[in-house]
Symmetry: C2
């Protein structure tokens, strides 16, 4: 995880971490990590781990267009047609390494071979990760391709899996309820350990909620369910309403690198943000921690004033301190939510956080 | 401390840390830290702490010439005569902030006021920190000035000290044995809690040993004694032979930022260096830790191969992991030396380390 060592991740009560197959494929490579005993051992984490399929990064990093499309959420068509580097065929994706410029071919079979080499407990089918689109035919074609790739991923997984590994399918279908339903039912018929809601979740928070609601209405109730790439506090409260179990997102560690800390509403006087910006001089004379009730190493030992000072003095260790807090914050949020689901008090917790 | 959070410093069995008065004077200021409850509280360290006088940095950073002089150890005369920014008068030093360009006047009285505000347990007299010189008259003048400033520092300290604070004098005299003796005797006559060997220690390791030997031959035996700015393993074994108790140096944390780890001779196949360079591809397939017998968090959890990978992937957390090891290494070195002094086995330990 960026900006934090693995022992600090453990001390923050983390239960599972996700690693990116695409980055690891380029450097240091799946075979290299397999020779080192697998990702859990190589990283020193030695605990539950998930790998993604490489699909998101190959589409977002392989073509300069894609990342801006995904981030800005406007439709710019298929990558092949945009002159991007990524070229999509029935077989898979041809892409160029951001590391050394080498061309490579990522297929469902290769993604699963890589993920089996990496050795994470939970692995994911290879999928096409298209930007937002409001064109039905475009989304239908992409969903169908994802289904064919999912079937190939499952076959490859069954041939190569390590005994502790389980495979997640991905429910696609963009913003179209009928496609989401079709994709959920398709996934239900295949022998997956778990399922994820993936692909484009729409342009607005309301569209995302509609997508999640539709997918979850038809998804298997017997499988753990993951919402891919989502991690704002408000999005998590939305997701758990529909039965989402797990989430992944770079948001908590990324905003730490920009000097920001996640805090509950009661510790935040900013009306529309879920975080504090410690660069702000308002924190320079605040001798309280980020959150008065937080048990993380940062809140137990440091004031907002000290964190503000470290930023002004350009001491990079502040990234570590803020990352520790943000990871601890997310883990505690999920602990609170699990407890609240048992106690039927989710609404109370949501008011405290948002 | 650069590259490591204060809890990791504690976990590495650190007993005391040094803070730089000059940097803290410029930003965030002595009064600001006093208002925050002092340095120990502000940093979350809450343990024994030493501040320097600001003398070294005002001379090394105030003038572009000075740092290169000190590092390259050639003589280029007094700063005032070199067109540098620092101007030395009987009163003190006029210098320019590297932070905002403001001019300021650092005097013995102001240095002690700052150090009392910062609130460290051990504080140091303000001194002129000249580069290496083989001119007797130059060194004599500087030593005499340091003595007058030491007397003024002591007076200022006695007026402002917090009850837990103790003051160190500094033995000057450059490479001239008679001046080192004179300075040691001068310090012995003043009411200092401790003493440091400071100023230019010569151009070679042999000159440094002569300087330390002469100073220690005449220094008080009843005071804790510090060797300023020294921290190579070989220099430490030299220093303890003559009765030096404590050392300070950026070396262990600085080389960590350059991808290097301190290791004992038995774990190092490089004949002339005290450290490994983890950038080197020889480490890419080495699944052993930096040192097989090291109890630090990094060695307990990570292989050389993983550290090498983090460097190639430009993951800055590797700085943290290497800093943790290097700080732990230095603390263990000093523990081993203290035990060896009791057991009269220092020679054996030196062979293991060097």
């Amino acid at each position: 995880m960026k900006g934090v060592d693995i022992q600090a991740v453990k001390r923050a009560d983390t239960q599972i971490i996700l690693s990116n197959t695409y980055h690891l494929m380029l450097r240091p490579g799946g075979k290299y990590i397999e020779e080192r005993g697998g990702l859990q051992k190589f990283t020193g984490w030695n605990g539950p781990m998930l790998t993604d399929s490489g699909g998101f990064q190959v589409f977002s990093l392989g073509s300069g267009d894609y990342i801006s499309e995904l981030k800005n959420r406007y439709h710019a068509g298929r990558s092949g047609g945009q002159g991007g580097i990524a070229k999509v065929t029935e077989e898979g994706v041809i892409c160029k390494s951001y590391y050394d410029g080498a061309m490579f071919h990522l297929t469902p079979e290769y993604s699963l071979e890589l993920q089996c080499q990496l050795g994470a407990d939970l692995v994911v089918v290879f999928d096409e990760c298209t930007p937002f689109s409001n064109e039905y035919n475009f989304t239908k074609q992409s969903t169908d391709l994802c289904h064919r790739w999912a079937q190939r991923s499952l076959t490859a997984f069954q041939e190569q899996r390590k005994s502790h590994q389980g495979l997640y399918g991905i429910i696609h279908g963009g913003i179209f309820p009928e496609l989401r339903k079709e994709s959920a039912l398709f996934n239900n018929d295949l022998d997956f350990f778990g399922q994820a809601v993936g692909g484009s979740l729409g342009q607005t928070q309301m569209q995302m909620e509609e997508v999640v609601a539709t997918a979850m209405a038809h998804a298997s109730k017997d499988r753990p369910t993951h919402l891919l790439g989502v991690g704002k506090i408000s999005d998590i409260f939305m997701g758990i309403k529909y039965g989402i179990d797990t989430f992944d997102c770079v948001h908590p560690t990324r905003i730490a690198r920009h000097g920001c800390a996640l805090v509950k509403r009661i510790f935040n006087n900013h009306a529309t943000r879920e975080h504090l910006n410690l660069k702000n001089t308002v924190h320079a004379t605040n001798d309280r921690p980020l959150e008065d009730d937080c048990g993380c190493q940062t809140c137990q030992n440091h004031s907002r004033a000290y964190l503000h000072y470290l930023i002004t003095a350009r001491e990079n260790i502040v990234i570590n301190l803020l990352t520790v807090h943000n990871v601890h914050f997310m883990n505690r949020l999920m602990q609170d939510i699990r407890q609240a689901l048992q106690d039927h008090t989710v609404g109370d917790f949501e008011l405290m956080y948002l």
